[in-house]
Each structure stands twice: as C-alpha cells, then as structure tokens.
Amino acid sequence: MDALSVTLCGVELDNPVIPASGTFGYGCEFAEYYDINCLGTFSFKGTTRAPRFGNPQPRIAECGAGMLNAVGLQNPGVEAVIAEELPRLAKVFHKPVMANVSGFSLEDYAYTCARLDEQPQVGWLEVNISCPNVHGGGMSFGTDPAAAASVVRAVKAVTHKPVIVKLTPNVTDIASIARACEDAGADGISLINTLLGMRIDLKRKRPLLANGTGGLSGPAVFPVAVRMVYQVYEAVSVPIVGMGGVSSAEDVIEMMLAGATAVEVGAANLVDPYACRDIIAALPGAMARYGIENLRDIIGGAHG
C-alpha cells in the first residue's frame, strides 16, 4: 500500500478522492479529458428503477461560493445503465465503481440495488436517502432514523456488496440517523448531501429554480460538512465517506482528520473538469507540508 491508499469497506483505493454522484455522469465525459483511472473510484449519477427526466428548467442557480441544483435525479433508469453506461465505462475505467442509487419506495431501493449488486464493475452501493430535489425522493427516508434504517435493511437483504448510506445534512441530529443506519447493517456512511436552499429572481420576483428549492453545494457548505463528519465519526464505527465543498488537497486532509476514510468531490468538478486529477496530484505536496506520511493514518486524527 502506498502513502495515498486507503481501504473503504474492504476494498482498497489507490487514493481517497472520489468524484461525487451527479457531478461526474457515468464517467465518459471526463474520460475524454483525463485518464480517470487516476481516481480512487467515482460515484456514478444517481440511478433509479425507472428512467427520469428530472425537474423542469431552470435547474441551476449560482450562489456565493457555491451553487444550487434541482436536477431531480435525471437518469436513464437502472436497466439502461446496465445495458449501455456500464459497458461504455468498462472501456475507460478499470476499477470498481460506486453505484449511487435513489428510490421512492423500499421496493425501488431493493430492486435497483439488487440489479446493480449483480454487476461485476460495481464495488460499492451508495444508497442516497437524501435527495432534496424530489418530492418523496429519499429525503423523507433520510430525515427519520427508523425510515433510514428500513431502507438499509431492505437493501442489505438483497445485496452482497458494501452498502454505503448517503445522508442529508438537513436534519437536527445527523448522528442519530447515522447510528440507526449502522445498526440496520450499513457498511459505511457518506455525507453530506446538499443543504436545502433557495434563490429568488429579483426580476421575476419568483423562486429562481422551477422546483422552488434546490441543493446547495460548493465551498460554502464545507464547514458544515466537516462538522457533521466529525459528529458521525464519534457516533459510528463503520467507515465514513466525507463530502461537501471539498475543492483542494488541504480540504481532503481536513475531511480525513474529521473522520473520513475517503472523500468525495462534487461541485468542484463542474467548475473545473480537472479538479479531481489536480487534487490527487497535489496530495503528496500537501501531506509533506503537514508532516503526513500515510493518509490512512490521519483518518479521524482530529479526535483527541
């Protein structure tokens, strides 16, 4: 194992950097720009049982140090992902991929996860119970410990690969929800999904997004993400995938010190398609600056 590698739910990653779901498609766009095999892995576009167009336009709004999105889980549906996206991906990416799944019922989650669990390319299932942009789109599951646990149990019953549950930050007590997921059998916790936000169009005097609200991501949310990762690290013993506004190698180190075993990078990919490649390249220098020999040694290091 080299200085950058970490082990996530029993699967080794060359480095902890993982493009976050919804900012990296199914990988092929970015494969045109750089060799995406330099990534630890990536989490593909949130996939549902049936194809979805998502929300009406506009879906994107800019904010200070971040953006709102209300895409609403646009995706071709799990069968098209298996039939078209995964074979296309196999040509350019030779590592296990993280399969991000959303649903609207326990049956949805179980069905979609079971189908993706069968795919040899899939290394982990990232179960999104936190999409803020779909009515009943998982967020309702993610805000209540019992509901969150029910999704985990439904998915664990039909899958064999590591199940990582992606949590919403729009809750009073993130730790209790993480604990409920762990108790229900989750193999890992990933957080944070986006913070629910809104911008208003001063010209039209109406919410800017057709959906009204959207999910806030970007550097703006980083301190909230670090805090929640820190809190969840004290609440659970399964590995944590930290995300939320990570934009630099220093941010990756800060997330890991807070308790993250791996770190997802989201919005940064949208403003600079080379963000993840460059963050990985900058890690050794940043580690040297802060006297870090092996990244795996600093996970949770900020906890006294």
Binding site: G25, E32, F53, Q57, I60, E62, C63, V71
Partner: protein, 244 residues
C-alpha cells in the same frame, strides 16, 4: 473541450449593454460556428457560457450582453488581463445542411454566433441572407459586419425605431434553402412555427458545468432528454419539444 488561459486583447462596448471581447490564446478546440466557451470570473463560482462570435487560429471574438454581476465584471476587464476559459463546448451548427441559399435568423445577442456561421457559409460560396432582430435601434450590432461578408441583411426592431418594424418572423421572406436561428426561446419557437422548411436552432440555458457533467441544462427532445451544453446548443427543428 480544452481548458485555456486567454489574454484579453480588446474589450469594448458595441451597443446598449453589449460588448465585444477579443481573446488571444489556444483556439485548437474551437471547431465549429455555434460552439461556446465557459469563462471563469474571479469572485463568481460558476463559469459564464458565451457563444463564439468569430474564431480564427490564436484568436476568439466574443460578443456578450451584460445581464448580471458576472457579465458586469467581464465588461469591467481590460486588455492584458487573463481569463481561464473552457473552449470548444457544444456541437455547433452543421453547415452541410445549408443548401445554396441559407437564411440566418438572429434575435438580440443571439445574433453573435451567426456571424462566424455567415463567414463560413460565404466562404463556401453560399448566398446568405440574414434577418437580425432587436428590441430597439440602440441594441443593433454587426449589421455592417454581416453586409461586409456579402450577406443580404435585414434588420428588424420590435419598437420600429430602426429597420423593419416587428420581429424577425415579420421580416421573413421565402426563397431560402435552410435556416439557422439563434435567440431567446420565444423567438425560436415563433421561428419554428412561422418559418417554412427545415432549420437548426441554437438554445440558451442556465448551465452548471457547460460540458455535460451536471445535466443541469437538459431539455426534452423527440429523441429523449438532451443536454443543451453538450448535445446542443444547436438542435434540428424536428428534434425540438416545446415545454414552455
């Protein structure tokens, strides 16, 4: 797609709230009229997508309208300053569809990308007509530039203060082989309804990334959901589904 640092060679007002910026740098990724670039601006999180008005090896011309804080900041920049730009985004127009008498229909700032298209079509020896629509006479730009290319140019203004009174669709004349349109969605929709024959239309959209990753700008088409930034911004008339 290529990420390039450009140097601003010129940035000057062209019409009411409309500026022309000339950039010097690597344009190798810019391959077709109708493509756009996505510009990073200090103090703004998202890039600003701007269509290419004209391109040649080592130089790009952008004509943009000040619509918010981002384009305001752009307008305040001067020669010598550097910009981080994603170049060669979008599909661009397909000149092979033009036929011998193509018609270009521009609405407001949507006129900008048609200039490069006109230059290419003229170079191919086509007889090019251009109908350029603006709200008022103060908004008109590039009329002479289109003429200088040898285009048959008609300018229409909504308030009748200059050229033909009314919208581009009021200034349509038959006899064209194919049309290319760029402008606000209501104008494009009117063109589709009133212009006979086939055409390509270039759409605006609120974009996150500009290169297909976030699917923020997707619109429905007869061939399923398409990303304006990557599958577009140019769509064939027959593909388009009007949602609003």
């Amino acid at each position: 797609m290529k990420k390039v640092i450009f140097e601003i060679a010129e940035n000057s007002p062209l019409a009411a709230g409309v500026y022309r910026m000339r950039l010097a740098g690597d344009t190798s990724a810019v391959t077709a009229p109708g493509q756009f670039v996505n510009i990073a601006l200090p103090g703004h999180y998202l890039r600003r997508p701007i269509s290419v008005c004209d391109g040649e090896p080592g130089a790009l011309t952008l004509v943009y309208k000040v619509v918010g804080h981002g384009t305001e900041a752009m307008a305040a920049m001067g020669p010598g300053e550097r910009l981080d730009v994603l170049t060669g985004l979008g599909n661009g127009f397909d000149t092979a569809l033009a036929g011998d008498r193509p018609l270009l229909l521009g609405g407001g700032i949507g006129t900008a990308p048609l200039y490069w298209l006109a230059r290419v079509l003229r170079a191919e020896g086509k007889r090019v007509s251009a109908v350029l629509g603006f709200n008022t006479g103060d908004d008109v730009f590039y009329e002479d530039e289109f003429r200088a290319l040898g285009c048959d140019v008609t300018v229409a203004t909504a308030d009748g203060s200059y050229g033909v009174p009314g919208f581009v669709t009021d200034a349509l004349r038959p006899g064209y082989s194919f049309y290319y349109a760029c402008g606000p969605e209501p104008m494009l929709r009117a063109v589709c309804e009133k212009a006979s024959g086939d055409g390509q239309l270039s759409f605006e959209a609120r974009m996150g990334c500009g290169f297909g990753a976030c699917v923020g700008c997707t619109r429905e088409t007869v061939n399923g959901p398409k990303r304006v930034c990557r599958d577009g911004p140019v769509f064939r008339k027959g593909e388009i589904v009007w949602t609003r």
